[in-house]
Amino acid sequence: MNPDRRAFLQKTGKLLVLSASASVAWEAIVAGRPETAENYKMSDHWWGMVIDIDVCIGCGSCVRACKEENDVPREPLFFRTWVERYQVTPDDLEHPTVDSPNGGYDGFPVKDKVDEKVKHFYVPKLCNHCHQSPCVQVCPVGATFVSPDGVVLVDKTYCLGCRYCVQACPYGCRFIDPRTETVDKCTLCYHRITKGLTTACCETCPTGARQLGDLKNPKDPIHEFLREHHVLVLKPQMATGAKVYYNGLDGSVR
């Protein structure tokens, strides 16, 4: 008698779990898809960005704008984009001093004693929207992906919060949103660029140090910029297919 009852309980238990997960999935389906943006054809675009370190003034406008636009958690502080500041002794590229107080959210504190021999510069960072991205490759459930227009996105309804991608990103661009326990990252303001607007960070950058570019649009000024400057992506040796191009990138930056 007893073994039978155990088997019965096991079976009903499994059935319950299965039907529960099925109903959750069903809910996600019937919730439906919001209207796809009008007049926007994904196959006509391939998004990237240029960052001109030579003109970045470290005002933090991009960091603040990103938080406003994308509701990035502030308590504790997380970042979809942030600004690092480097101090490098010119002949010792391997040991830069790097910090990023509050990611640049409040701007940067002033330094009174300046060593004239040390090189100083800011480096804004964000997701590189790699088209051969290691973060996408490690996702076990297809919750993160490269969109047909070249943006690395996260499906928050699908993400398990397993943190594989957080580990896999060579640039440290992903974090777990403490409110949802799912992964969060820069979307390149997908809700803006699909409506013909630029990203919040580029919109508020006062010097043009950040410029969104459509690599498939032959008229986009990004092509001229890339032609006329010696640009580099971060960690090219990782062969991630990064699409954030830096002008004036120092060898000490990683």
């Binding site: 099925a22 999935a25 069903w26 996600a28 389906i29 439906g32 898809r33 919001p34 209207e35 796809t36 943006a37 994904m42 003109v55 970045c56 003034i57 470290g58 005002c59 933090g60 406008s61 704008a65 406003e68 636009e69 994308n70 500041r85 701007g107 940067f108 002033v110 330094k111 300046v114 040390v118 100083h120 510069f121 297809g142 919750a143 993160t144 992906f145 490269v146 969109s147 047909p148 996105l153 996260v154 499906d155 928050k156 309804t157 699908y158 979307t187 997908y190 809700h191 803006r192 699909t194 409506k195 607007l197 630029t198 919040a200 919109e203 508020t204 950058c205 006062p206 010097t207 043009g208």
Partner: protein, 153 residues
Amino acid sequence: MSGWLKDKGHLARMAGLFAFGITAFLVFRWLMVPAGFGLYGHYRAGALDDAGARPLHYAGRAACEGCHTDIVEARQGSRHARIGCEACHGPLIKHAQAPTEVKPTRPDGRVLCVRCHETNPWKPKGFPQVKVADHSDSGPCTACHKPHAPKIS
């Protein structure tokens, strides 16, 4: 007549079992795989719409410039002209959509400027910087500089 079916009842049972198993799998898969999965790749196509459906906060300078032509004129030729309005005024799409109902507050004419112009060795050499403590007292910078055309000629 029934020669070829003779002794093959177990095969029919097997076939039935397989048919049931495959149907059950297909039904289960249909239930579990969300709509649009695999349309563009190994992900849910609807996720693109989700990402695209978030609310906007920044209107973009083109929107501001459409209405505030006086400010555009004031900025003409100034080195502040290429700064987006919302870099200083903050996200204002609600104002752009209903200008009389949502009235923006004026930015602080000191905190704002200092963030960009305080001298710091990390800033590029050509950028106009001042040692704020030496440059002015604690009043607003806008007492001397016009925010939309800051050069004092």
